[in-house]
């Protein structure tokens, strides 16, 4: 069941078309990764869903109800890319402020603030000013302030940007708890390995359009294929192109592919030896989201 559905969303800023007919569904209880190079339209899409950017055309439905204007989004939680918190307030005070702004009060607010402090692992720093926190701690609190009101759908715009791998894992642990509590999550990130590790589905956006969508394995199969990528470094450049290989910039590096490593790899290396070349190194990799992304957009994904 789709809890969030975007249909043919378009939005232009002057002559720049940020969204050119984006259609996307977020299913109940899933973690959907939205990938795209810088300027692809990810943040515009997130802002449109959050009601902070108006669409030129298209619709956004939340639990089957078409959203108009800026209201009707109580079931939505938004975690912005920036650490949008008050630096001179404590963790507890920030949580209480944003909880209150989202309509919580009294015992419910108190209970949710206590839950959030435990959930983020910041209970011991509850009374410390935000400005004394590390980047990872700020990020965790940033997420907590967006989900304090128990939204059913949570939008996370690059929630792990600028934090170390350990803190990233902690953040994904937090998101997993949210999912177990029944929330559906849509997140944008530049970390492809995170998406591969945590997201059931991926949508790739480029030039304002969704250019591919599905699980990582589906995307791999439909784009670069399921064969393993074989990278062979040889002692010198071959005199003529070798069948089954292509070159990767460096003249002494050959790139090939095999569906079955056990049977395919010896045959591949045999062709290298037959050409009179000496193999210095072999690297076999399964196709990754990185390959898919590169294949579809022609760009590396960088922060």
């Amino acid at each position: 069941m789709a809890v969030l559905r975007i249909t043919d969303a378009t939005r232009s800023f002057g002559s720049v078309a940020a969204l050119r007919g984006v259609s996307l569904e977020l299913h109940e209880g899933e973690l959907l990764g939205l990938l795209g190079p810088n300027g692809a339209g990810k943040t515009t899409l997130i802002r449109a869903i959050a009601g902070r950017t108006r669409l030129d055309s298209g619709t956004i439905e939340l639990f089957g109800r078409v959203l108009t204007g800026t209201g009707g989004r109580d079931a939505l939680g938004v975690v912005p890319q920036e650490v949008a918190l008050y630096p001179l307030l404590t963790a507890h005070e920030n949580l209480a402020a944003f909880g209150s702004l989202h309509g919580l009060s009294g015992a419910e607010l108190k209970q949710q603030v206590a839950w959030a402090l435990e959930w983020t692992g910041l209970a011991e720093r509850a009374t410390a000013l935000l400005k004394t926190f590390s980047g990872g701690m700020k990020r965790r609190l940033n997420i907590a302030c967006g989900v304090l009101h128990k939204p059913k759908v949570v939008l996370l715009d690059e929630p792990t940007v600028g934090v170390d791998p350990q803190s990233r894992e902690r953040i994904y642990d937090m998101l997993e708890i949210l999912r177990k509590n029944g929330a559906s999550l849509l997140l944008t990130t530049h970390h492809l390995e995170e998406v591969e590790a945590h997201c059931e589905r991926v949508a790739i956006v480029d030039h304002g359009r969704i250019i591919a969508g599905g699980s990582v394995s589906e995307l791999v199969a439909s784009t670069v294929g399921v064969g393993r990528r074989v990278r062979v470094r040889v002692d010198r450049a071959p005199l003529a192109p070798l069948a089954g290989f292509e070159q990767d910039g460096e003249p002494t590096v050959l790139i090939g592919a095999v569906n079955d490593v056990v049977t395919g790899l010896p045959a591949l290396l045999g062709r290298v030896a037959a050409a009179g070349l000496h193999v210095e190194d072999v690297d076999v990799r399964r196709p990754s989201l990185q390959s898919v992304f590169l294949h579809l957009t022609g760009k590396e994904l960088r922060e």
Binding site: R73, V78, P80, V83
Partner: protein, 430 residues
């Protein structure tokens, strides 16, 4: 390498059009404003002080004195008045002491001169005296009138003073001969004529007030708005400075809104249930309450350190504080919503605040400005706020008498809030 830096900075300045404009417009604007307010243009007309004159003596001497005063370029002598609320073409009626006192008390004129009955007789005994009813809100006007009064006495009644001198000479040195008496009697009218002719020449009031000729007649000053005003200027400057700094505080609070916009906090808050209208109202209320606290602290300081009489004026102070801070907070909201960056806000706020403070009387009392500058000053809420505080602290005005100031300041606040709400639409879903 220094040349590279100069090139980078000059290019940056050239491409920031607002900063570029401020660089050159700011000094010109300030120069023009301050030259108008404090410079020659402002002072030439400043010197026409309104003086209410009541002639209870109705003698030749009193009429001569009043005529001489009327010829003073620095004074606007008013012997009649048109009752408040009367039609413009209604006839003016002569002033009496009670009415003059009432008009000074209400701030219609800064000073009233009463020439009492028996003035001419007393003058013959070298004990002539007049009463001067003063409004302590204007400490300059009474001094100016006192100085010009002494000058007028001498120039209007020179023959009387000459005759007084001859009488005293005879008292201590013996009588003149009949021939001398005859010649003196023939000469005294010429002295009177000489004084009148010299006095009809244009007078530079600022340069001649007082003139070191005090003491020809006795001036009995009386402050008509109470006897607690020995520190009157303290409350004026407390209010003047307070309003100016309230404006700076309000613009800083406006800047904090822009800071929240830059950090994304504002966006996040707007994404909650709050909405733009309540966000602005909340910020406005916060700035207003903070401003009220600032004013209270400042006036309490004035009370304890400079003996400002706050205790007897608490209701008026509270009313004026609330409406003044309502207007200044609204001003801060307009600045925040109109400016794109904090740098823009800082430049524009500085221009507006200093100009309105100069014109509106926060830096320099409006009653010392020309009448045209005083009228121009009314476009600023500094002027209305200061007028209100002066009414409270100097005129002991009742709350109902503050209605014009309260009304105008609330109108300012309302307009500012509406304008800021309209401008804030750009922060909503774009």
């Amino acid at each position: 390498m220094i040349a590279t830096l100069l090139r980078v900075w000059s290019r940056s300045l050239r491409r920031d059009r607002v900063a570029l404009a401020m660089t050159f417009i700011l000094p010109i604007a300030f120069f023009s404003i301050f030259a108008s307010v404090f410079g020659r243009q402002g002072f030439q007309a400043t010197s026409r002080v309104r003086v209410l004159v009541v002639d209870e003596n109705r003698s030749e001497a009193s009429r001569s004195l009043i005529a001489a005063l009327s010829r003073e370029g620095g004074l606007r002598v008013m012997e009649q008045y048109r009752p408040h609320g009367a039609a413009k073409n209604a006839p003016e009626v002569p002033l009496d002491r009670a009415r003059a006192e009432e008009l000074v008390k209400s701030g219609e004129a800064p000073v009233a001169l009463i020439v009492p009955a028996g003035f001419d007789t007393a003058l013959s005994r070298m004990s002539g005296a007049v009463d001067l009813l003063e409004d302590p809100a204007d400490p300059v006007a009474p001094q100016m009138v006192t100085g010009l009064l002494q000058k007028a006495v001498l120039t209007a009644l020179p023959d009387r003073f000459a005759k007084l001198g001859f009488d005293m000479f005879q008292q201590y040195a013996g009588d003149f001969t009949p021939e001398q008496k005859h010649k003196l009697d023939a000469w005294l009218p010429q002295v009177r004529h000489y004084g009148s002719a010299r006095d009809s020449a244009p007078a530079n009031a600022a340069g001649t007030s007082g003139g070191g000729m005090s003491g020809f007649i006795q001036v009995r000053p009386a402050e008509v708005v109470g006897d607690r005003k020995e520190n009157g200027m303290v409350s004026f400057y407390a209010a003047g400075m307070a309003v100016m700094f309230l404006l700076f505080s309000a613009s800083a609070a406006g800047g904090s809104l822009l800071e929240e916009l830059e950090t994304g906090t504002l966006d996040r808050v707007l994404g909650s249930r709050l909405g733009m209208t309540r966000l602005l109202l909340g910020k406005w209320l916060y700035v207003m309450l903070l401003g009220s606290l600032q004013l209270t602290v400042m006036f309490l300081w004035g009370m304890f350190v400079f003996h400002l009489d706050l205790v007897h004026h608490i209701p008026g102070f509270v009313v004026m504080t609330l409406v003044t801070t309502a207007a200044t907070a609204g001003f801060g909201m307009v600045l925040a919503t109109a400016c794109r960056t904090r740098a823009q806000l800082s430049s524009i706020a500085t221009i507006i605040i200093l100009c309105s403070s100069a014109i509106g009387g926060s830096m320099f009392p409006r009653f010392l400005m020309s009448e045209s500058m005083q009228r121009i000053g009314l476009v600023t809420f500094n002027a209305w706020a200061l007028d209100g505080f002066i009414k409270v602290f100097w005129r002991d005005a009742a709350i109902v008498q503050l209605l014009p100031q309260v009304g105008v300041l609330l109108a300012f606040a309302t307009v500012f809030l509406i304008v800021s709400r309209l401008l804030a639409r750009r922060w909503e879903a774009a």
